[in-house]
Structure formats: structure tokens, C-alpha cells
């Protein structure tokens, strides 16, 4: 009955690991051509450059898992950055309090998204589009559009507080030789990946995303699970926001905007990893690292910045075509 030829298995292998193979090939190529690339220090720099994106992208992955889509993550990051820095600079909040406020804000944004989707029944994309505008707006209103930095002027007076060392440590400190954001990325990456693939909650999240009606009749409290997903997504975005604020050492207006596209890209690229064809934690990490490796290597090669998007796009399209046409050839031939 079953005749799996060697060729089939090979094709299967290519399909399943197309993107990983490509990533490995890139790393080998850069390491050979560029002596500075293959150093442990550079590896840390690459991870550092994608850490915040990867953390936020884990949240996006969770929202994609329940069949939702959290467009508000970028605004969430902006808002949390302004909130945590303003708390410290304007109101002299201690770092711990500022961090807690930031995380709570992220969770609340997630809760609001979840309630809009579940209780008000607004479709995911629309609900999070709305909150995207609201929180991008609130991030600006918070400081009347001004950036926050130690010594910012508030109504003619220099603000009383400042961004302190312990807070900045979150962005720049080093633990076991690794920058704090990288450590956080690794820890949360493992936690979210295991949660999604091995825990009961992860299974229920996937069930809701796969067929919400069926999940409900099988006893899954669909509404609660969806709200949970958005709260997790919002909280992870706010972790990214806190780390970003710490790394920048200030509250840059609109700083989160670029994270929406970057994190969605990482999560989507993750679909093609290990033949998942659906949101998955490990894939998202690989997606983020993939982009980081590429940009780091191209920069070292001194490739003009204006060709980097093209190269990134071309490699991505190539990997996708390889992954997906192999996948379907396999299914069709079958």
C-alpha cells in the first residue's frame, strides 16, 4: 500500500527544511567570505538586532494561532515605550513600577482587543485596526507628541525624573555573556514555542483557530481562549516595548510603527519552516533570525542599502516557492 520512494523522502526533506537549509547556507557563505561574520560576538549582535522583533512576533504568532490577527502590536509598542519612559521622567516612577505599568498596559490593550472581538463581535482585523489607531494616538497624546528623555521640558520646566541605570540595564545589560533582550527572547521563545506545541492551552488555541464551532462543541470556551490569546499577544508586545524603551534610553515618538510589518513578516516566514504551513513559535524565531542574519551579512559585505530589500525579497520568494511547490507536488503526486 505504502510506497515512499527515496526521491519522495528527499523532496519531503527539502520541503520541510527549505528555509532552514537556506539559513544554514547563508550563514556558511557569510562566514567564509567575511572573517568578522563568524565570530561569537557577531552572533550575539545578530541576536541582539532581532530580539525585540522576535519577542513581539511570538505574540503575533499566538494571535494568528486562534485565527486572529493583531494589527495593534506596533501601536502597543509605541504606547508602552512612551508610557514607561514618561512614568519615569515625568512622574519619577521607580524602574520596577514603570516596567509593571508598561506590562499592565500591554495586557490591557490585549484585553480590549479580545473583548472587541469576542463580546462586540468585531472581526479581528477591524477591531485591531481600530485599536491600532487609538493607541498610536494615545502614545502621542500622552506627551503631546514630544519625545521623552531625561531632562525633557514639560510646561516650561525640565521634567523631574530621568531614565535610570537599572531600567537601561534591561536594554543593555549583559547576563551570562548575552544581552538582556537576547536572554528574554530565548526564554520567551522557548516558553511560547512549548506552550503552543505541547501545552493544553496551546492545543486549545489551535483548536479555536482551526474550527471554532467544533472547538466549542468539544467543550472549549472559545471566547475566553480568544481573549487569552489577545492578552498574551498584547503582553508580549509590551515586553518588547519595555525592552525597546530601555535600549533607546528614551521615549521616541512613533517608534513602534515599523514593528507591525517586521513581526508579521517574521511570523509569516515561520509558516514555511519545517513544513508547518501555519503559525508556530519555532518558525517565527527562525523567521526573525533569518532576516537578522541576512541584513547583518549584507551590511558587512557593504552591499548598498538600497539593494538589501531586493535581495531579502528575492531570497524569501525563492525559499517560499521551493517550500510550497515541493509541498504540493508531494500532495498531488499522491
Amino acid at each position: 500500500m505504502t510506497t515512499t520512494s527515496l526521491a519522495d523522502r528527499l523532496r519531503d526533506g527539502v520541503y520541510r527544511s527549505g528555509l532552514l537549509v537556506l539559513l544554514a547556507a547563508l550563514i556558511v557563505y557569510f562566514a567564509v567570505t567575511l572573517p568578522a561574520f563568524g565570530t561569537p560576538r557577531n552572533a550575539v549582535i545578530i541576536l541582539q538586532s532581532v530580539a525585540i522583533t522576535a519577542i513581539i512576533a511570538m505574540g503575533v504568532t499566538i494571535s494568528l494561532t486562534v485565527g486572529g490577527f493583531d494589527l495593534s502590536v506596533g501601536s502597543n509598542v509605541s504606547f508602552v515605550v512612551m508610557l514607561t519612559t514618561a512614568a519615569q521622567v515625568y512622574y519619577e516612577a521607580p524602574p520596577v513600577v514603570a516596567v509593571l505599568i508598561g506590562l499592565a498596559a500591554g495586557a490591557l490593550i490585549g484585553l480590549l482587543n479580545g473583548l472587541l472581538v469576542v463580546v462586540a463581535r468585531v472581526p479581528d482585523l477591524l477591531a485591531t485596526l481600530g485599536t491600532m489607531f487609538v493607541f498610536a494616538g494615545l502614545a502621542l497624546v500622552l506627551t503631546a507628541g514630544q519625545s521623552v528623555s531625561s531632562g525633557s521640558i514639560v510646561s516650561g520646566e525640565p521634567a523631574p525624573g530621568r531614565i535610570t541605570e537599572p531600567f537601561a540595564w534591561l536594554g543593555r545589560g549583559v547576563v551570562l555573556g548575552l544581552p538582556v533582550p537576547v536572554v528574554v527572547m530565548i526564554v520567551l521563545g522557548v516558553v511560547v514555542t512549548v506552550m503552543l506545541s505541547r501545552s493544553r492551552l496551546g492545543r486549545l488555541l489551535a483548536a479555536v483557530g482551526g474550527n471554532a464551532d467544533a472547538a466549542r462543541l468539544a467543550g472549549v470556551r472559545v471566547g475566553r481562549i480568544k481573549v487569552t490569546a489577545y492578552v498574551l499577544s498584547g503582553t508580549l508586545a509590551s515586553v518588547g516595548g519595555v525592552l525597546l524603551a530601555a535600549r533607546l534610553g528614551r521615549g521616541d515618538v512613533g517608534v513602534g510603527g515599523s514593528y507591525l510589518l517586521e513581526t508579521v513578516a517574521a511570523a509569516l516566514i515561520g509558516f514555511a519552516v519545517l513544513g508547518a504551513n501555519r503559525p508556530n513559535g519555532f518558525g517565527t524565531l527562525v523567521g526573525a533570525v533569518f532576516v537578522g542574519v541576512l541584513l547583518n551579512g549584507l551590511t558587512m559585505l557593504n552591499v548598498p542599502y538600497y539593494t538589501q530589500d531586493l535581495i531579502k525579497g528575492a531570497i524569501l520568494v525563492g525559499a517560499l516557492v521551493m517550500s510550497f511547490s515541493a509541498l504540493f507536488k508531494r500532495k498531488d503526486a499522491s
Binding site: 549582535i45 519625545s147 525597546l244 533607546l248 512613533g254 515599523s258 558587512m300 548598498p304 542599502y305
Partner: protein
């Protein structure tokens, strides 16, 4: 002068940029690259594409790779400070353009935004005799704009006849088009407007677009800042309402920065604070010069090039 990196004597300079996209940055880089080529130095470009966290990481990366000098082009104090400190601690000279790193031992280069704004505003006050309803284009949170804004606020105080009737502005990839929509609306609401202060060329172009849409080129004048080839075309166009702009030549500023970095790397003589003075262009002067490109401009206005700033012998 395009020696490969293998040569140990080649001076290697890291250029850590906050932004790359847009005429200003493009021409800045062209000037920097040309200067590096002329000096036989190797320039490696780190582009954060507006991502400040990335710029911070780029700086770390440049320090790790042990360049002979690091040039920082724009950025925020807090974000670049730790990397800069690390570079100085490692003995790598740092040249910072348009960003105050607050680190000792850094060569600071600035195009004076204060002076730039003052030049244009003096022209505005002179043209209007200090009496005008003005639409002001400004978005907070961008360092050069914030500095120019401070001058505008002073000017308002000093000239009670000037009234800011509306504030507009949007910064994104389609700044000009979005600003145009807002200026149109503001003009509808404030028909008495006679001047628009738009101290960033994308804002100015948006304002011109709006005036053209409404056919108000004769009634409202635009006072801008910065200059590029495209800007020259807009300013010198028949009946253009954009009557004055103040600017430095970005290519020149780029070249100055590279020269300073080269000098710092090779132990040459370089001041620790360098200022590149801006220059006021009125529409009339531009039209008269017949310049259509930045290249023409540097010929017509030799003051724009400042080879004597941070000279390499």
C-alpha cells in the same frame, strides 16, 4: 583609490546612519563616499533605516569589528551614547554629525539648525514686515525639527504681528502628499493666510502642492528649509510660491564628516567641534543663478563647499 580591504594600511571608517532613504541622505552619502574614495579610505555603511534600536546595535557591531574610526550620522543622544562610550573606551575615534553624544573625546559636527531656521525666518519677517497669518508645518520628535521649532517660537514672541493660525504636518513615507492635504484644509479654514513656514523640504513641497491645487500661489508664500535637486526644480518653477529656503549642501556635510573621521583615525589635526554654516537661498537668487541641480548650485554658490573645514592636507 578603490583599494580592497585586504590592505592593512587602508583606513577603515564605519558610517553608522540613522536613515538612508531620501534625497538629503542620498546626497550626503554620495559626498561622503566621494571623499572617502579620494582619500583612499574604506567606508562601511550601517543603515538602521529609521530603527533607532538597530542603530544602537550597529554601533556595537562597528566597535566589535574594530574600525579605525566611526562616524555617526544623526541619531538620538541616549541611544548612541553607550556605543559611543564603548568606542572611545576601545580607543576608536568617533565623529558625530548632528547628534550630541555627550561623550568626551568625540568630534562633533553640526549643521546649525538654529542658524538655518533663523535665516529663513528673518527673510519671512522682512517680506511680511512682521505682520502675517502663518500656517506652520511641524511634527515633534525629530531632533532637527525640534531645534528649528525653538527658533520659530522665539520668532513668534519677538514679532507679535505674526500669528500662527494652524499647525499641520505628517511624517511618513508620503509626507509631501499628506502634508498637502492638511495644508489645503488649513487654508480653507484660514483664508487670511499669507505665509507658510515649512522648515523641512518635504513639508515645503507639500505646501507648494496645496497652493497649486487651490490656485493660491500669488497670495501665500512658502518659507522652507533644506535643498535638493528636486527642490530646486520646485522653487525655480514658473510662479512658484516657495520663495526662500536655507540649507547646507548635504554632499559637503558628508565630505566634511568623512574628512574629520579620516583625520581622527590617522592622528591628524581636527577640532572637536565643527560647524558647517547654512546658506540662505531666495527664489530670485536661484532663478538668477540658472542652477537646476545641486551640482550647478555648488558652482554658482562656492560658499556651499567648505574644503577649509577639517582640511586634509
Amino acid at each position: 583609490a578603490s583599494t580592497p580591504a585586504a590592505d592593512d594600511d587602508t583606513v577603515r571608517i564605519a558610517l553608522v546612519r540613522q536613515l538612508s532613504q531620501g534625497d538629503y541622505y542620498e546626497q550626503w552619502l554620495a559626498g561622503a563616499q566621494a571623499q572617502a574614495d579620494e582619500l583612499g579610505a574604506e567606508l562601511q555603511i550601517f543603515n538602521a533605516d529609521g530603527d533607532n534600536a538597530q542603530q544602537s546595535t550597529d554601533l556595537d557591531s562597528a566597535v566589535a569589528q574594530g574600525f579605525d574610526a566611526i562616524a555617526i550620522d544623526h541619531g538620538n543622544t541616549e541611544t548612541v551614547q553607550p556605543g559611543t562610550q564603548a568606542a572611545i573606551d576601545d580607543g576608536i575615534p568617533v565623529v558625530a554629525f548632528d547628534v550630541d553624544t555627550e561623550v568626551d573625546g568625540v568630534v562633533n559636527i553640526a549643521q546649525s539648525d538654529n542658524e538655518l531656521a533663523s535665516l529663513v525666518l528673518e527673510q519671512l519677517v522682512a517680506d511680511t514686515a512682521g505682520e502675517a497669518e502663518v500656517i506652520y508645518a511641524y511634527v515633534a520628535g525629530f531632533a532637527p525639527l525640534d531645534r528649528r521649532n525653538a527658533v520659530w517660537e522665539e520668532t513668534l514672541e519677538e514679532n507679535p504681528g505674526l500669528e500662527q493660525v494652524a499647525q499641520v504636518g505628517a511624517v511618513n513615507e508620503s509626507t509631501a502628499a499628506d502634508t498637502a492635504s492638511q495644508v489645503s484644509a488649513a487654508l480653507q479654514a484660514n483664508p487670511g493666510t499669507t505665509a507658510i513656514f515649512a522648515p523641512y523640504d518635504e513639508f515645503a513641497k507639500g505646501a507648494v502642492l496645496a497652493l497649486q491645487d487651490l490656485g493660491l500661489e500669488d497670495q501665500v508664500k512658502v518659507y522652507g528649509a533644506d535643498i535638493s535637486t528636486a527642490d530646486i526644480e520646485v522653487i525655480t518653477a514658473e510662479g512658484s510660491p516657495w520663495v526662500a529656503t536655507a540649507a547646507t549642501d548635504p554632499a559637503n556635510v558628508g565630505a566634511v564628516t568623512v574628512r574629520a573621521a579620516y583625520l581622527a583615525a590617522t592622528g591628524g589635526d581636527v577640532d572637536d567641534s565643527i560647524e558647517v554654516p547654512p546658506f540662505l537661498f531666495t527664489r530670485d537668487a536661484l532663478v538668477e543663478s540658472g542652477a537646476t541641480t545641486i551640482l550647478d548650485l555648488t558652482e554658482a554658490f562656492p560658499e556651499l563647499s567648505t574644503p577649509d573645514v577639517a582640511p586634509v592636507d
